[in-house]
């Protein structure tokens, strides 16, 4: 008895003390508002200024009312397309750029690296504005440049057509953020030990096949992280759509993604007064979509990725 008391470890207060600042700040600005939103979605505005508890009725409206569900699924599919473009264009280009940049024979690598990364630090407002000007059929440089190389007839007011507006905006977003996967992959490529690459060369694996067979498997975990970052970023995106197309996400809601749909619902727009309860419902559904996506990755993919220890 007395022995066990003697060996009992002292309470390690320092762990709690060191965790406290982050925990308190994170709770105050993230966790409490998150539960506040979840709570808000269970109510509706009653007569006067009161609010009434309605359980899941807002969710039922969102999924079954033809107008709400139509707008919601439109925004969801658009958002998915937005994400697919990023996965198919942004990340492969980012990997390719990183592979080229990490080549020891490339000159001015630092310059390229900086130049490609700069758009990522620009404000959405600037990016949206600049691209609208570039693509403007009236004063843009795009129609003139395409004329100069004989492709003038191929120019179209892409941002104004239902069929092309969303893809155009997704590509603008890709242009802006391609620097981020590039940087992460670049760092991952640099961390591959020289011995591994030298061993590969001894075995006669060089050049492109070295990339495919040696480097790519080693950076797969980083690509996974990038995918999940892209997923979360895209499903939370809002700014670019708002800056370029306005809150109505024209033409004909073809660029409406979950973020802009949430904005219109929650804050209202012009004569439409905001509805915080339906807005919170949309926000909650967005939260669960992102949670589902992240969980799928964490439990379905990340656990199966093979990791290599150097």
């Amino acid at each position: 008895m007395s022995r066990s008391r003697a060996t009992r470890r002292p309470i390690r207060w320092h762990i709690a003390v060191f965790l406290a600042p982050a925990l308190i700040v994170y709770t105050a600005i993230m966790i409490i508002p998150l539960f506040g939103t979840l709570n808000l979605s269970l109510f509706t505005r009653g007569q006067g200024n009161t609010r009434e508890f309605v359980g899941l009725a807002n969710f039922v409206t969102l999924f079954t009312d033809p107008r709400w569900s139509g707008a919601f699924w439109n925004a969801t599919w658009n958002n998915l397309w937005f994400f697919i473009i990023h996965m198919l264009v942004q990340n492969p280009i980012g990997i390719a750029l990183a592979a080229i940049l990490s080549s020891p024979r490339l000159r001015f690598a630092a310059f390229y690296r900086t130049a490609i990364f700069i758009p990522a630090i620009l404000s959405f407002v600037i990016v949206g504005f600049v691209w609208r000007l570039i693509l403007s059929p009236l004063w843009g440089v795009a129609p003139n440049m395409m004329d100069a190389i004989g492709l003038g007839n191929w120019f179209a007011p892409w941002l104004g057509q239902e069929s092309s507006a969303l893809t155009t905006l997704a590509l603008i977003s890709v242009w802006q953020f391609v620097g981020i996967p590039m940087m992460l992959i670049y760092a991952a490529l640099l961390s591959i030990p020289d011995e591994v690459l030298e061993a590969a060369e001894m075995d006669g694996i060089t050049g492109a096949s070295q990339f495919w067979k040696i480097k790519l498997p080693l950076i797969l975990p980083t690509i996974g992280i990038i995918s999940i970052l892209t997923f979360v970023g895209n499903f939370n995106a809002f700014d670019l759509i708002y800056v370029a197309q306005g809150a109505l996400a024209g033409p004909n809601y073809s660029t409406d993604i979950l973020g802009s749909f949430l904005f219109r619902t929650f804050f209202g727009f012009q004569l439409q007064l905001g509805d915080p309860h339906m807005g919170a419902t949309v926000a909650t559904v967005m939260f669960f979509i992102i949670l589902a996506g992240v969980s799928l990755y964490l439990f379905g993919i990340q656990t199966r990725l093979r990791r290599y220890q150097f």
Partner: protein, 417 residues
């Protein structure tokens, strides 16, 4: 910050005032028009104070985007100013229903306003009015007089003449017939649909019938304006689908486009930008209609905080605003925002004078979807933006647009169910 500043300023003012003139009252004015601060300080306040010694005014504007929420919280907390600038329709109606704005129905100067002018600040049945209508904007077409002279064109009065003019400019080829884009969507609805539509649904008559549920948006008078908008698209510049509102303004002020469908609120800006002579004409009348209508849209009113201790002084000030002196001051300080009072007003700007003269020839109405019918979800006014833009883009037929709008309205508005 602003609240505290307002309070301390008011108190300081009140203290000084009580020291010097025993009966002096200071009225603090809440407004979102911080653009107008110099006009208030230099013109309106001195004019009023000269006529009414004993009442002082303090103009305290807030940033436009924050005005509604700031005003609501100030009213709830009891710290709002005595005089409140009113947004049109539901935002102010809500304040009145909560008892935060005084009833001004019996203000003597109210006799100077038509029912249309008062509609934005009256209860739905029109029996009570709670803000003095201050300014409206008139829709119409602004044209480049130099281009019209160069091509020998006459100002069109009817729909046929209007399209003949557009065809003539198109054929000649040096200029874009009409500067308008649909990227921002609201131009299509506001400067297109609401602008020309009034002649089809016969102004107030059609608007009232829609509110009462007697006419439907699939009826000819609501679909015909869409049909005309669909015809417009061939006269707009290349790539109008992604042309934004500032693009259109620039096209016109640079002299590259002949006609600009718009409204009087552009006047001040265009005066600075354009170096050619500008004229204006009201929406052309379709064949076979009698009389003409204009969209004379109420935009800004001014009311009295019900919790203010200075009700008497406040009413004196508001009554002064309804008179000819104040109306003329306002109209000339901000050309294009017209006083709604029927008191005699003289304008210095000929273009503004032209717009204002239509009130004498045509009947006024407001934008069709602003009162009552845009209270639900989906919001009819916002839907009309998308519908008008879709028609001009050619993705919807005019009939489809009417059906879509009607379906949205029927989904929540009882008189249409």
């Amino acid at each position: 910050m602003t609240i505290r500043k307002t309070l301390s300023l008011t108190t300081a003012f009140a203290l000084c005032a009580t020291g010097v003139f025993a009966q002096d009252v200071t009225l603090t004015i809440e407004s979102w028009r911080n653009d107008d601060i110099t006009i208030w300080r230099n013109q309106i306040i001195p004019a009023f104070e000269a006529a009414h010694p004993g009442i002082r005014l303090d103009f305290q504007p807030t940033a436009p985007a924050q005005y509604n929420s700031a005003l609501n919280s100030k009213l709830d907390a009891g710290t709002a100013g005595d005089i409140v600038t009113c947004r049109a329709f539901d935002a102010s109606l809500q304040l009145f229903e909560r008892g935060q704005l005084s009833d001004l129905t019996d203000l003597p100067g109210m006799a100077n306003y038509s029912d249309v002018a008062k509609s934005a600040w009256s209860t739905d049945d029109g029996s009570q009015t709670f803000c003095v209508p201050l300014a409206s904007v008139i829709h119409g077409f602004i044209y480049n007089v130099d281009i019209f002279n160069e091509l020998g064109l006459e100002v069109p009065a009817t729909e046929d003449e209007f399209f003949a003019v557009l065809d003539a400019i198109q054929e000649e080829g040096s200029y874009i017939p009409m500067a308008m884009g649909i990227n921002d969507q609201w131009e299509a609805a506001t400067m297109g649909f609401a602008n020309i539509g009034v002649n089809f649904w016969r102004g107030e008559e059609g608007r009232a019938a829609l509110i009462a549920g007697e006419s439907r948006l699939t009826d000819e008078e609501w679909v015909a304006p869409f049909r005309q908008l669909a015809r417009w698209s061939q006269y707009l510049g290349r790539g109008y689908e992604s042309q934004s509102y500032p693009d259109s303004q620039n096209l016109f002020t640079l002299g590259r486009a002949a006609i600009y469908p718009s409204g009087s609120w552009e006047i001040a800006g265009f005066r600075e930008q354009a170096d050619f002579e500008m004229g204006a004409f009201p929406p052309p009348v379709p064949a076979g209609t009698e009389g003409c209508y204009i969209s004379d849209h109420t935009d800004m009113g001014i009311g009295l905080n019900a919790a203010s201790p200075n009700q008497e002084a406040g009413r004196i000030f508001l009554d002064w605003l309804t008179g000819a002196e104040a109306s003329t001051l306002f109209a000339n300080a901000i050309p294009g925002f017209f006083p709604l009072s029927s008191a005699e007003v003289t304008l210095d700007d000929p273009l503004a004078e032209e717009f204002l003269s239509w009130r004498g020839q045509c009947e006024s109405t407001i934008r069709p979807f602003h009162q009552i019918v845009s209270r639900g979800t989906p919001n009819l006014s916002n839907e009309s933006w998308t519908a008008s833009a879709n028609v001009m883009r050619g993705t919807w037929t005019p009939e489809e647009a009417g059906e879509a709008l009607q379906a949205g309205l029927s989904s929540w508005y009882a008189p249409h169910q």
